[in-house]
Symmetry: C2
DNA sequence: GATCCGAGCTGACGACCATTAGCTTAGAAG
DNA sequence: CTTCTAAGCTAATGGTCGTCAGCTCGGATC
């Protein structure tokens, strides 16, 4: 691990002179969760110590326990909240009505927008599932299945009504969900594409892949 | 961590009676790497101990050091090999010639096929980048950029020659790569879709998203 | 001014882990 | 039979980490 340099900040009580992280205005569960999220996203859950999280908001590791019950609860809260937010956005997209292709566009835009605008939540939510312990893990997996079903159902409806032409709606739904999830891995707020542009472009991609003709040549290139 | 149950196997020298994992025929660097790959894929690098890896092939943790130099080198080897294999497959797809849409199909099929057929390698390769230390990390990131460039170049050529109609080739290349990478997260060899079918379907999706018309209604549903 | 309490802090405690050191054995080599 | 060595093993080393205990300070309350 070459990434050390935690600059522990030797100053104690009587000298709030310098020190990089500088205490937050208020230290509460929400502040801690935000700091934890950032660190989980950039180092991973297991590589992040309670001391790291404390340092990020200007207190020591053990002091965190005045506000949160454990590191695992911190992760669980982040992941459950993330799934709930995704599902709420998806539901809002569905509730907005319109024909099936429009609903699909709204769903995909919501999906991608979330993965860009809340890339840390989404990234942690996807990467740390096996570090989540049991009350949480099943809960998150359940929510995840609900979310997947939302998109798949729209695709299936589109196929039934003749708007879409895919042989395997489930496969197509995975493809669309996964390409959106990927955004959380590379998106940067100061990057060349804004979240809104990406969401729009990806919704286009999704509609295209569901509505195109059967592609060019029918032969697989199987040989490996 | 509820997933314990390592069944340490109390038998020592004089009794090769039972014991779950049963020693492999030969214990060499390749066997160890295979066991490590499996465990890294299902638990993550940091959650896997050298003792776990040893147990998987029927020896103790410290004995591994007769064959490999460190856990980190194990991870580095896996990830570098994975990127090299991906690049080799991609290059083979390009070398097969054909027009741009056919090349694209071959590239995407190779990409998806690898992520299905070698899901553990691909999964670890994507998930453990920040656990990779410095000689390896840069090497893998370099290889990854090379790989990305391969697909992007084909898309750009297709746009220039009028085969494809996407505004942002880079964005489209990310979408295609990410949807393929997602396969390594959910694919199961005994699942309902074979790797070959998935590769073919995904190549279709890719071609559709690059060649479709500009989608239905032009308005973004931006409002959040 | 005395008291109280929330919220820091330091210093354990107990567990785990990668890696090293040094012992031992089985089988090859002579 | 003796010797050597590859490849196991156990035990230790040095480190880290989550969490708990107990101390202390500053400000609010009376």
């Amino acid at each position: 691990m070459t990434e050390a340099l935690h600059d522990e900040d030797g100053s104690r009580w009587a000298g709030r002179d310098a020190g990089q992280p500088e205490r937050q205005q208020t230290v509460d569960a929400r502040t801690i969760s935000a700091a934890a999220l950032k660190l989980f996203a950039e180092r991973g859950y297991r590589a992040t110590t309670m001391s790291d999280i404390g340092a990020a908001i200007g207190i020591r590791g053990p002091s965190l326990y005045r506000h949160v019950t454990s590191k695992q609860v911190l992760l669980g809260g982040i992941m459950v909240d993330t799934m709930r937010a995704l599902i709420a956005d998806q539901q809002a997209a569905l509730d907005a009505g319109g024909d099936v292709p429009l609903q699909l566009r709204r769903i995909v835009e919501a999906h991608v927008r979330y993965h860009a605008a809340h890339r840390e939540q989404a990234f942690v939510g996807n990467r740390e599932i096996e570090n989540l312990e049991q009350p949480y893990r099943d809960q998150v997996l359940r929510l995840r299945r609900t979310y997947e079903r939302g998109l798949r159902t729209v695709i299936e409806r589109g196929c039934a009504e003749g708007d879409f032409t895919v042989a395997e709606p489930r496969l197509a739904s995975y493809a669309i969900l996964d390409m959106g999830m990927g955004v959380s891995a590379w998106f940067r707020p100061d990057g060349p594409h804004g979240a809104e542009r990406i969401a729009y472009a990806y919704a286009d991609y999704a509609i295209r892949m569901l509505t195109g003709w059967s592609s060019s040549d029918g032969a697989t290139t199987a040989d490996a």
